[in-house]
């Protein structure tokens, strides 16, 4: 048990190894900092976190150090006294901020970072109101090509070197570096070696000011118009915690959300820049029914009534000829409702797991100069490009004791054994596609094919009925990642057009009254499916919940990234 005194307030930090920034955070005191980041090494060079530090002796006397020290570099020990608001500490902070602003252009009105800029925030809170500089500012030229996705506004840089340390320590690719000395120091790349690694987008988040900007987001939105929703990235089975930033039902960017249980502090570019399909105009957003002239728009109430009727009739006729596919992009709640609906029609209905997209192999970081992975692993981009295989499999196991793959269903369809097939797909459009034209040709043999998807595909072409699905940003529910971590997916935007959240569609198939409410379904799921039992008792919170007794199938022991300091 160690007690640290932050501005005269004692705070117990237990046996944790913290620096003074973290200790003060526990006491609710913000020590401003730029260069320090929990996942990166300590360099103590921005000198923003200067505080007065002393030690309280057992007899109660306090001995203060004669000078200010950087809080990021000073470990919190029992009896450490931190003063962040003394005249000397405040003067040091003011001095640093004045220095930082000397050569910083005041182009906040056109800067992407304005509104979430730490230089703005700290200047407002800790800085002085007037600049005493009358000379010209340094105006180094901007570097528009740091990487495919990254641009550098050189003059805005405050040389915290977080980005440089990120490429050296987390991605290991070391593309970024500091060139020149003194007040002419700049971030740059080596000639001909741009920063295009798969984690490169993180340097934009790490940048405390608007120096490194994402070309994807550049000049798209002012950040104060954006609404952030804490959710989960659906692009691989790591299940990175993210913020989905949107405005008026348009997603503008994804940002990693620090989660020590999932991925650490970062996310990969595949996930970060892979959201565009959500806003895409090419999405199919109307329910369609096949008539004599092909697929034509239908309306939800009559379409759902038709589906219920057809499915019930088919299940009564030849229940083993009814097949439902549950894709690994469904949330656990959706999978549960759909499985419940079909098993309610008849025990004989076959539930199959949709194709699990696997692309290459797990990609671990950091890498060395030759691109080989280095231990310890700090970040993993998984080959399994879906968020919830584990969760859907568990639901399937509960309802029919085994997980049947989509290939089996296709084979039966090829043999003419399938009368009705319901494909709850919801796959985002990716270059590899979730279904091949050959498979689509097989599906064409199914007399009544219901496709519930986002996008045109060989399956959609063969569909008798098409239901527009909701993307991950439009859903509520739970994803279980590769390691059995259950995280809450939260709705960031409304589904476009006539789309409805998948859960709502399944809710109505079940003829339940009212609206689909994910936490209520989650509680029901927890009651009925043993694997999900822990989810009933508590809120999933920000970091999610590790599910115990998760079968080891496909799980691996790689620890999530973001090593603590």
């Amino acid at each position: 048990m160690a007690v640290v005194y932050v501005n005269d307030r004692p705070i117990d930090i237990g046996s944790e190894r913290l620096n003074l920034i973290q200790a003060a955070q526990k006491a609710g005191v913000l020590i401003p900092h730029y260069c320090w980041h929990p996942a990166l090494s300590v360099v103590a060079s921005c000198r923003m976190c200067l505080v007065e530090v002393g030690e309280r002796k057992p007899d109660g006397t306090v001995v203060m150090q004669p000078k200010v020290v950087p809080a990021c570099q000073t470990p919190a020990k029992d009896g450490t006294v931190v003063v962040t608001n003394s005249e000397r500490a405040r003067y040091a902070q003011q001095q640093t901020l004045e220095s930082l602003l000397l050569n910083h252009p005041l182009d906040c009105p056109v800067c992407d970072k304005a509104g979430e800029c730490l230089l703005q925030d700290y200047s407002y809170r800790f800085g002085r109101a007037h600049s005493r500089l009358v000379d010209d500012k340094n105006q180094p030229p901007n570097k528009p090509y740091i990487g495919e996705q990254i641009t550098l506004f050189t003059d805005r840089c405050i040389m915290c070197t977080r980005c440089v340390r990120f490429t050296r320590e987390i991605s290991g690719t070391a593309e970024l570096e500091v060139v020149h000395r003194g007040h002419h120091a700049e971030i740059d790349i080596f000639p001909g070696r741009p920063c295009n690694n798969k984690l490169a987008g993180n340097v934009v988040d790490l940048c405390p000011v608007g120096a490194l900007c994402s070309k994807d987001f550049l000049y798209k939105q002012r950040v104060w118009f954006l609404k952030s929703q804490a959710s989960v990235c659906a692009d691989c089975s790591t299940g990175c915690s993210v913020f989905i930033d949107s405005n008026k039902d348009v997603v503008y960017r994804l940002r990693p959300r620090s989660n020590p249980l999932a991925q650490g502090d970062f996310m990969c570019d595949e996930g970060r820049f892979g959201y565009h399909y959500i806003n895409a105009r090419e999405r199919w957003t109307r329910p369609l029914a096949r008539g004599p002239s092909g697929l034509s728009p239908a309306d939800w109430p009559s379409l759902l009534a038709t589906l219920r009727r057809e499915l019930r009739a088919a299940a009564q006729r030849r229940s083993w000829a009814v097949v439902a596919m549950l894709s690994p992009f469904l949330t656990c709640e959706e999978a549960f409702l759909l499985a419940k609906y079909f098993k309610g029609l008849s025990e004989q209905v076959r539930l199959v797991l949709g194709p699990v997209p696997i692309v290459g192999e797990d990609d671990t970081y950091p890498k060395d100069a030759r691109g080989r992975p280095v231990q310890p692993v700090k970040f993993t981009i998984r080959a399994e490009k879906c968020p919830n295989r584990r969760g859907v499999e568990e639901v399937l196991r509960h309802f029919q004791g085994e997980v049947v793959t989509f290939d089996v269903a296709l084979r039966r369809a090829d043999e003419g054994q399938v009368e009705v097939m319901y494909l709850a797909a919801g796959y985002p459009p990716r270059p590899h596609g979730w279904i091949t034209p050959e498979q689509g040709a097989v599906l064409a043999k199914v007399p009544r094919l219901i496709v519930h998807d986002l996008w045109d595909s060989p399956a959609a072409q063969a569909a008798t009925w098409f239901l527009p699905a909701a993307s991950v940003a439009e859903k509520e529910g739970t994803f279980v990642n590769h390691a059995g971590l259950a995280q809450a997916v939260r709705r960031a935007i409304r589904p476009p057009g006539e789309c409805r959240a998948d859960g709502q569609v399944f809710w109505e198939l079940l003829e339940r009254r009212g609206l689909f409410h994910a936490p209520a379904v989650r509680a029901e799921l927890a009651r009925e499916v043993a694997f999900f039992a822990p989810l009933g008792s508590a809120d999933l919170g920000e970091h999610g919940m590790q599910l115990p007794g998760a079968p080891a199938a496909g799980a691996d022991s790689t620890t999530p990234g973001g090593a603590p300091t």
């Binding site: 000198r47 200010v68 640093t96 220095s99 040389m159 570096e177 000395r181 003194g182 002419h184 120091a185």
Partner: protein, 443 residues
């Protein structure tokens, strides 16, 4: 006071002073032989500690004490770095030693390695010292040939390899952790301390960093004994409990507006006036001095009235300077504009600041811009206040930077503003608009 007989510079100027034959004939490597054959490393450390030798690189830290900070019974390797990155403006005493008498430096290096149980010594040489590079390389080869370096030196199971590493011309590489970073092949950004180099230095191993002149002194202490060394210089000031005394000879460099610039060896504690008038031949062109830089520009400025200050480890701080520094006195005469002096100083530090810590990176740049403006007659009186404030606020002493470069950058500025304030104010009031000098501007 009797005429001082030079020791460190004894062979300088003699024919063939660089060769090992001359050195051996003059009793060279005798101290090493005696130490390695009769003394344990601990005894060598004790001898140096007893001598009161303080580092000649600028900070004046007791050398023997530094060596004792190494972890005991370390399995090794332990590294010795010889700081030959002599970049302080107007300082050239290491250069004289390495160019003219490299073997006494090398002998001191071997002695230090013996005392610290180092296996490898790196001599980090300033890039600009091409002649030093050649003479030191030659000396190292000769020492290998004679068996003073390599495996099993003097048959006592003591091994040492010496590598001569040439820097790329950065002032910050003279800071010990910056030197280590540079030696490791990285950008010379000084490290945060602790851990100190003695615990975790080059290649994450215990490392000792010593200056060339310090090591030359080690040779002579081991050769002539502690008593000889303590008989030279200034004993500690009894009124100042933190003063460890300034013993031994020191190489003083005299440059600037004097008739006879050069290097002289004198006991510590000589006054600036004696240096300038007696050894430097007086101020040039029959003029009077306006002031001087007492020990490399990091140490601040002295006015002519303060010339009677003794140049020992304790003296310059009595008149508001930072310390002895490198003992390189640069005199400027009465016709020199103090604004030009300030501008030159600021330009140097703005150019050499490594850019790691915000206060130093931005502060030195800002000071340069203000100094340039004042020099061109467009200064404002409040600039002087800002300059003084920055000078006080940046550096390791107020705690706002990692290394001491910022202290060195701030000190001469605040000295200039306080000691020559009237001249600055006059210049600002006059507001003479001069064109920028050719090749000037913010570098």
């Amino acid at each position: 006071m009797a005429e001082y007989e030079p020791v460190l510079l004894r062979r300088v100027g003699k024919p063939n002073s660089q060769s090992i034959e001359t050195y051996l004939a003059d009793g060279g490597y005798g101290a090493l032989t005696r130490a390695v054959t009769t003394l344990t490393p601990e005894q060598v450390v004790e001898t140096i500690k007893a001598s009161g030798l303080r580092g000649r690189g600028g900070a004046g830290f007791p050398t023997g004490l530094k060596w004792t900070f190494l972890p005991k019974n370390h399995p090794g390797p332990i590294y010795l770095c010889v700081n030959a990155d002599e970049s302080e403006p107007c300082t050239f005493n290491n250069r004289v030693l390495m160019e003219e008498d490299p073997h006494q430096v090398l002998e001191g290096t071997i002695l230090a390695a013996y005392a610290t149980r180092a296996w490898v010594a790196y001599i980090y040489l300033r890039y600009e010292y091409g002649r030093c590079f050649r003479t030191m390389q030659q000396a190292i080869q000769e020492a290998y040939a004679k068996g003073f370096l390599g495996r099993d030196i003097l048959g006592r199971g003591f091994h040492l390899d010496v590598y001569l590493h040439r820097g790329a011309g950065a002032y910050i590489c003279g800071e010990e952790t910056g030197l280590i970073e540079s030696l490791e092949g990285k950008r010379a950004w000084p490290r945060i301390k602790p851990p100190f180099p003695a615990v975790e230095g080059a290649f994450r191993k215990p490392t000792v960093v010593n200056n060339v002149e310090t090591l030359a002194c080690v040779t002579h202490i081991m050769d002539r004994g502690v008593e000889w060394f303590r008989s030279i210089g200034v004993p500690p000031d009894p009124r100042n409990p933190r003063d460890a005394g300034s013993y031994g000879p020191k190489l003083y460099n005299i440059s600037g507006h004097v008739n006879r610039p050069g290097t002289v060896e004198l006991p510590l504690g000589v006054t600036v006036r004696e240096l300038v008038d007696k050894h430097g031949g007086g101020v040039w062109k029959g003029r009077k001095a306006k002031g001087c830089i007492p020990g490399g520009i990091s140490m601040g400025l002295m006015t002519e009235a303060e010339f009677d200050t003794p140049l020992d480890f304790n003296g310059p701080s009595k008149v508001g300077c930072l310390g002895l520094g490198t003992g390189a006195v640069t005199v400027f005469d009465e016709q020199t504009s103090i604004a030009d002096v300030l501008y030159n100083i600021c330009r140097f530090f703005a150019h050499e600041s490594c850019g790691q810590c915000t206060p130093c990176r931005e502060g030195t740049g800002w000071m340069l811009k203000m100094a340039d403006r004042i020099r061109r007659g467009q200064g404002r009186l409040e600039d002087l206040e800002i300059l003084r404030e920055i000078g006080n606020a940046i550096g390791i002493m107020p705690g706002t930077t990692i290394c001491g470069l910022a202290d060195g950058a701030g000190w001469p500025v605040k000295n200039a503003i306080t000691k020559f304030r009237a001249e600055f104010e006059e210049l600002i009031r006059r507001g003479v608009r001069r064109e920028p000098l050719v090749g000037s501007g913010s570098h």
